[in-house]
Symmetry: C2
Subunit: 298 residues, 2 copies
Amino acid sequence: MLINKLGEFGLIERFRRQIKTDSTVVKGSGDDCAVIKFDKNNYLLFTCDMLVEGVDFLPREKPYLIGRKAIAVSASDIAACAGKPLYCLVSLSLPKKTSIDFADKLFKGMRELCRKYKINLVGGDLSRAGRLTIDVSMLGQVKKKNLVLRSGAKYGDIIFSTGKLGGSIRGKHLRFTPRLKEAKFLTENFKINAMIDISDGLAQDLAHILEASKAGAALYEELIPLSPAARNFAEALYMGEDFELLFTLAPGDARKIPLKKLSGFTPIGQIMGEKYGLKLVDKKGQERAIPARGFRHF
Amino acid sequence: MLINKLGEFGLIERFRRQIKTDSTVVKGSGDDCAVIKFDKNNYLLFTCDMLVEGVDFLPREKPYLIGRKAIAVSASDIAACAGKPLYCLVSLSLPKKTSIDFADKLFKGMRELCRKYKINLVGGDLSRAGRLTIDVSMLGQVKKKNLVLRSGAKYGDIIFSTGKLGGSIRGKHLRFTPRLKEAKFLTENFKINAMIDISDGLAQDLAHILEASKAGAALYEELIPLSPAARNFAEALYMGEDFELLFTLAPGDARKIPLKKLSGFTPIGQIMGEKYGLKLVDKKGQERAIPARGFRHF
């Protein structure tokens, strides 16, 4: 029996069930970052993301942008937990026939994004392989009182996203800004109950929040902020790699969010009971169940 | 111009020169682990290692042993800095046609080694790819007073290795024991000046110590503890993946090392001045310069 029978999330769940961690681990596998006890006021955040040529980027993409993306996806995971990225390592496997010019530009993309967010690139590993593969592991820090996980969404919470959604494949997936400032602003000024970055697609990542929070949700079609790059509404729902933040907070707090601040905050739905499932409400007020579908590796 | 013109270490050096880190980074790229300020008495250690099918293991190897090795190589890096491994993440890219049985065994190998050394496996990333690639990033901790880097070797130091060397390709590279106990014993009882794990081969890894310490060294052919798996002496010098510790300490201390303790400690040479270079002394006392050769990806 092959792993695609289980699917990506089935396989992850199979692995997760077998893992035991000690009491220093606040949150292991199953969120955007692992959360580890650190000091009186802070947790450590620990995350990794692997980019594979032909899956996460095409061989013809600019190496500068590939390098940039490799750092940005991990920074986006740190943002999703409301933390500050501090240190990263880069494991890189390169084909023998890689040019020095390509390697230089790849590295420049990494270095510049690290410098922009004051992330220390502290080392890595270099290997030969048939295809370019980059794995970035990142360490960050978050104030205990600011930590946000996927599991905290509450009945009645308003669901927001940052920025605009859909059509990321047409360029944004290589050039996106990890929403670190937005996460900092939100958690320093509001009580955010749940947060995730939209890497697999709005429907699927919202489903991750719903599963972790044992909740349902209604999304309002009219409210979802469509990116000009999106060709249709389905792309905003199911296409991955927007790398916007999806978060929930109580209605009273939600009213106070300055909608135009930073990359923009848009209310797009509401948390419901678990039995409600995940539904899309169209312009006429008609509800229909939508699948928790999105990008999956298997 | 292609990267093999620079070679693995030339490319790493090219990248390293361009990196700046802040004052919280005690040691960035260029040792077995990155060393980061943590609390009053301890540093954080941060390391990653990528294993690629066809380079670091053959597709026909047992998945349990591949998984085991993926964790063990990073634990060995933590040992080389005299630390204790605490947390790890696993980035895994798998071919679509991987069987669930293969994935289960791969994961079992990782899990069991983690359990043995009390390492918390706190998450990871799963991706699709043409070939199996595993990148493990690991966080550890070391008492400030016990930290050992490559750069501390001093003129006159005796050079030791743990265990036996050579022929690792015939099985040990998949089954080796990371020398965590040995590192702990050594640093708690002696003043170890420099240490590295032998991953690229004795000659090359000793050369890393010599370069970082601006020193030379004489190795005594007769003293080098040859593994029964080694077909000849050159394999002990130049074949990679022994994953034994190579360390140096002052002659006065060296005399007190219990040679048969744990995996065994064998004095194999002495640190000389930088101009001396790296030389092998044969049974007749003849010296000859040897190349800092070993496994290289490019």
